[in-house]
């Protein structure tokens, strides 16, 4: 099986004052789907392109299936990539697109036809093999791009925001298909996205990146439950974690019996962890209520006047705009971060 290892990988673009990626190490186990997530410009695509061989590695080492690939051509790295715009060859048919990589490797025609046929059936493209990409819908094009990636049976799949050109509904559907396919094939994958929901749902291992650095690596639920920094807390989870004003946060923490919070900690609470509690410690003046169906997001301002909070509440008995409601939170659900560094403080064990 094939794992991917990055050792102190650095990327400095020629002429740039600062490194895009100042030095990053990452281990991706065989068969794992690793999602790189972060805001645009955080270096996640650059990292993926370095693994693919489309960007030069300034420093460090990239290993795919135990082989150092730094100086190998993309074609010789045994990877395939799905691009954001699919990068289908517009002058070739669906069959031609999927067969191109095999043809270039000198595979006999009969074998190519068989492999393309298998992949096409797997993706529901069997009836479209003679069509040109422009005769296909967005979702079908996406699947052709997937087909082109899987027919080669590479050691690793690389996905560069493959769903961002699809509409919301199709994106959710295709997301499931990609996950299912990847699990069935058991191929090690790196998946780049800026969508935290996509990242959460797809990942075996989630890598949250910011400014070329890894903020946190771990299983998605662990990152959700224990974000390592304020940045991760704000990025993972939707709506994002509420960060309370220092006074309010400290009061809340002290009331919950967490001594360290006094003074130098920032306190955060996830919207889902807030609950309506008559006489609860947080008095919120409601501004907007967004009803999502099963739950509703209640946006408001705390009575300290400085903290804006969102509470994700269920039930139908919701306040209207301008009303004051009281919220409570379980002490175990408080997240504490260092005021200066933004790093998580491990003491909220109450």
């Amino acid at each position: 099986m094939s794992d991917i290892r990055l050792r102190n990988v650095r990327k400095v673009y020629p002429g740039a004052a600062e490194a895009t990626i100042p030095g990053l190490s990452l281990d991706i186990g065989a068969g794992e789907l690793c999602v790189l997530v972060g805001p645009s410009g955080c270096g996640k695509s650059t990292l993926l392109r370095m693994v693919a061989g489309l960007e030069e590695v300034t420093d460090g080492e990239i290993n795919i299936a135990g082989r150092q690939v730094n100086d190998l051509e993309p074609a010789r790295r045994d990877i395939s990539m799905v691009f954001q715009n699919y990068a289908l060859y517009p002058h070739m048919t669906v069959h031609g697109n999927m067969a191109y990589g095999l043809k270039n490797r000198g595979m006999p025609k009969a074998e190519i036809a068989e492999k393309v046929g298998t992949a096409a059936r797997m993706l529901g493209l069997a009836d479209y093999l003679d069509r040109k990409p422009r005769q296909l819908s967005g979702g079908q094009r996406q699947r052709v791009a997937m087909g082109r990636a899987i027919v080669r049976e590479p050691a690793a799949f690389l996905f560069d925001e493959p769903l961002s050109n699809l509409d919301a509904k199709l994106r959710v559907k295709t997301r499931v298909e990609i996950r299912d396919l990847q699990q069935r094939l058991g191929t090690t994958s790196i998946y780049v996205t800026h969508d935290q929901q996509e990242a959460m749902t797809l990942a075996d291992t989630l890598v949250v990146m910011n400014a070329g650095r890894v903020e946190q690596i771990g299983p998605p639920m662990e990152i959700y439950a224990r974000p390592a920094s304020l940045f991760v807390a704000g990025f993972i989870g939707s709506p994002p974690m509420n960060v309370l004003a220092p006074g309010t946060g400290a009061a809340l923490a002290t009331a919950a019996g967490i001594e360290r919070a006094a003074g130098h900690a920032v306190v955060g609470v996830r919207p889902e962890d807030l609950r309506a509690q008559p006489g609860g410690p947080l008095a919120v003046t409601v501004r907007v209520v967004e009803r999502l169906g099963a739950t509703a997001n209640v946006h408001g301002v705390l009575d300290d006047g400085a903290s804006e909070v969102i509470a994700s509440l269920s039930g139908t008995d919701l306040p209207g705009p301008g009303e004051v409601m009281h919220l409570g939170v379980n002490p175990a659900d408080l997240h504490l971060f260092d005021h200066a560094s933004g790093q998580r403080l491990e003491c909220a064990g109450a």
């Binding site: 693919a52 061989g53 489309l54 051509e73 993309p74 074609a75 990877i79 395939s80 990539m81 691009f83 954001q84 715009n85 990068a87 060859y89 517009p90 002058h91 191109y100 990589g101 270039n104 490797r105 082109r148 080669r152």
Partner: protein, 304 residues
């Protein structure tokens, strides 16, 4: 049906309304005047002259019907000129497009100082064909030309005054040189319109640089290639008079007498106005045909 089409045109095109009734006519008047004076009038003159025969002193003119045309197509010199022109335009189109494509592919890869290279490569287009002709004439002059001297040093006795092949080479080079810039611009734009991810995908799919170019970039460039082919053939057919006139004068013998050059020489040196007019009518038919081909295919875009 016609009404339906008219309605559609009306809906699709933005209708501009003028407050004054005569203003639109006034605005198009200069263009119409230019077309009338410099195209319609000379063209109709040529059509008229092509059915006449005039004596050398212009004293007597008689109507001869299509005799001028019949004579032309039975004239081995004219047919030879046709052949020369086809060779010449095929070579000009081929050479200028091939060189331009190579330059465009290389310029497409340049990252730093790209604009400098581009500007330098576009410059020759600003040189008038006659000036370009003189320039190359000097370079290849068998007595004083530096290129002729260099060829001589390599053991080739260059003399375009004597050797028809040399003369053809000279006008092809002189005519192509300028056209390379024009073709380069279109090829570069065409190459840059191809998404980078396509070549990257092909690289991952195991295609080397040459294979990528042949199987991905070139097919996607085919509309540009076709467009330039027509443009270059039109150029070689009709706009190269200056080049020929400044370098070889159609010689040696008839070796570089292309059709446009023959039109001029038969009229102003041979004073055979009827034949010359008939020749220009033939050329007119060719340019109309080429333009029609271009419109028909370019409008529809070459499909890939």
């Amino acid at each position: 049906m016609a009404r339906l089409v008219a309605l559609e045109v009306h809906v699709l095109t933005k209708k501009v309304t003028f407050s004054h009734r005569w203003l639109p006519y006034l605005l198009v008047a200069p263009q119409i005047a230019i077309t009338l004076v410099f195209f319609i009038w000379p063209a109709s003159q040529a059509l008229y002259q092509s059915v006449l025969r005039q004596d050398a002193f212009g004293l007597k003119t008689e109507y001869v019907g299509l005799a001028n045309f019949a004579k032309l197509f039975n004239d081995p010199l004219y047919l030879q000129s046709f052949y020369t022109t086809i060779t010449f335009s095929a070579l000009v189109a081929g050479v200028s497009m091939a060189v331009a494509l190579v330059l465009a592919v290389m310029a497409d890869r340049v990252v730093r100082q790209a604009t400098t290279y581009r500007t330098l490569l576009i410059w020759p287009y600003a040189v008038a064909p006659a000036v370009a002709g003189v320039l190359w004439w000097f370079l290849f002059n068998p007595t004083i030309g530096i290129a002729a001297y260099a060829l001589d040093a390599l053991g080739y006795d260059w003399n375009h005054y004597v050797d028809g092949g040399d003369a053809m080479t000279l006008i092809v080079v002189a005519a192509s040189w300028r056209q390379v810039s024009y073709n380069f611009l279109f090829f570069l734009a065409g190459l840059q319109a191809i998404p980078k991810s396509l070549t990257e995908a092909a690289a991952i799919d195991g295609a080397g640089p040459l294979k990528r170019f042949v199987t991905i970039q070139l097919p996607l460039l085919s509309p540009t290639v076709f467009f330039l082919l027509v443009v270059n053939v039109v150029y070689a057919f009709f706009e190269t008079f200056g080049v020929v006139h400044a370098t070889t004068d159609g010689g040696p013998g008839q070796a570089t007498t292309i059709l446009v050059y023959k039109v001029w020489r038969d009229a102003f040196q041979g004073l055979n106005l009827g034949s010359s007019a008939a020749q220009s009518v033939v050329l007119m038919a060719i340019v109309i045909a080429l333009t029609a081909i271009q419109f028909r295919f370019i409008e529809r875009k070459v499909e890939y």
